[in-house]
């Protein structure tokens, strides 16, 4: 194809997205669109499955059977979401195994929040309330994104995710209404998860490199800072209901703006964790790699069995 032809196709392509048409797997798409989507969808998928680990850490120690079942179901959903997203990404011409490879070698990123440790039971509540709360804000607009398979996966994810934040909040509320020990546990969890949750929306708008292009392709509807503000505004009253204090002395309502002002985020910490030097980066990847490697003989066996069965079936057909 000549450069001019490509340019022409690109214009038609962008116009389709602008008209709110969806792009489907076999449609022509600019290479950059494909690559950006592979990067974002696979990152998203990785976040789901790495995200299983910090919460999975508490399944065996959940304090009641009801909580144990809810947590199991939640972590299971995350596996499901990872699966939907990997499948969506595979339609762009990359296999799940290649994506795993990128994750395992540190080439691919995932949400930094999962590099923080889950130290107490209250962390399960805090993750549901804050981390899933932030994730929902990030994800809901993606139900309308331009790439069909991604949008469809997100619709399913968002539908299922609606119970996650509620179970987290309910669990924290129980702690806050409980004994002083329980309430302290909840406060401590908020202290540790608050700032990393704000970081989940990514760098500030002036630092963010992909925003404009992402807006055009409907990978984003609002900027990082807008979404972060939305999160703060919705979360502050919820913390009041819980009766615990957000660890930010600068947090206060700004009448003029109609929003909460909040303190400065420690971006050094953010970049440090992104670059692999958070408290749990190594442990998380080690766990994923170990699960994958230890499972190799199982996956191979299943293939070997399937091939044998196929051969037997063929012989049977021949004989009859």
């Amino acid at each position: 194809m000549s450069e001019k032809e490509i340019k022409n196709l690109e214009e038609i392509f962008e116009a389709r997205i602008a008209r709110d048409e969806k792009i489907e797997p076999k449609d022509w798409m600019p290479e950059k669109y494909r690559k950006t989507h592979i990067r974002q969808i696979s990152q998203h998928a990785h976040s789901e499955i790495v995200g299983m680990l910090p919460e999975g850490n508490w399944i065996t120690r959940a304090p009641s059977l009801r909580r144990k079942a809810a947590l199991l179901a939640k972590v299971q959903d995350e596996a499901g979401h990872g699966l939907y997203l990997y499948s969506a990404c595979e339609t762009l011409g990359i296999s799940r195994e290649e994506m795993y490879e990128q994750l395992h070698t540190g080439k691919a990123k995932y949400s930094s929040i999962f590099n923080y440790p889950t130290l107490t039971w209250a962390d399960m509540g805090a993750i549901g309330w804050l981390v899933d709360g932030a994730a929902i804000i990030n994800q809901v607009p993606l139900c309308n994104t331009s790439y069909g398979p991604y949008a469809r996966a997100m619709i399913r994810v968002c539908k299922e995710e609606s119970f996650h934040q509620r179970q987290g909040f309910e669990s924290l509320l129980t702690l806050c209404k409980g004994t002083p020990d329980q309430k302290n546990m909840a406060q401590d969890a908020l202290n540790r998860w608050w700032w990393p949750s704000l970081m989940m929306f990514g760098p500030t708008d002036d630092e963010s490199t992909h925003t404009e292009q992402s807006m055009k392709w409907k990978l984003k509807r609002k900027t990082n800072d807008e979404l972060r503000q939305q999160f703060v505004d919705q979360t502050v009253p919820q913390a009041e209901i819980l009766g615990i204090t957000i660890p930010d002395p600068d947090l206060k309502w700004n009448e003029e703006r109609g929003h909460y002002d909040f303190g400065k985020i420690n971006w050094d910490e953010f970049w440090q964790v992104v670059k692999g030097h958070g408290p749990c980066n190594k442990q998380r990847i080690k766990d994923r790699v170990s699960a994958w490697e230890k499972g190799a003989w199982v996956r191979d066996a299943a293939i070997a069995y399937a091939e044998k069965q196929e051969k037997r079936n063929q012989e049977e057909r021949k004989a009859s």
């Binding site: 076999k26 499948s87 799940r96 996966a153 299922e160 996956r299 293939i303 069995y305 399937a306």
Partner: protein
């Protein structure tokens, strides 16, 4: 041996009277496993009462490049639609 589980497409009937609808995909080594995985992955919340699985490679898909010749010729065949025909107003139900 370095062979990955193939990809399968999952179709679910959510209740009797409705068609099977494409729900998504998954990995499985054989058809039985694909069916079991589909049950565990896609019907956890009572989404279905019947499942079809088919290996993705067995699906033949039309190519969007041919969309012009495949689908556009239908556009001017308006006589296939009931609104093409003019009938007197007195005729209420037809």
């Amino acid at each position: 041996m370095k062979k990955n589980w193939p990809l399968w497409e999952v179709f679910v009937r959510s209740k009797n009277g409705l068609e099977h609808r494409h729900f998504g995909s998954l990995r499985a080594a054989d058809a039985e496993m694909a069916l079991e995985n589909a049950r565990d992955v896609y019907t956890r919340r009572m989404e279905g009462i019947s499942i079809w699985v088919v290996e993705s490679k067995d699906i033949t898909a039309s190519n969007p490049e041919n969309n012009g010749e495949l689908f556009e010729p239908a556009q001017d065949k308006v006589y296939r639609h009931p609104t093409f025909y003019e009938l007197p107003d007195e005729l209420k139900h037809m």
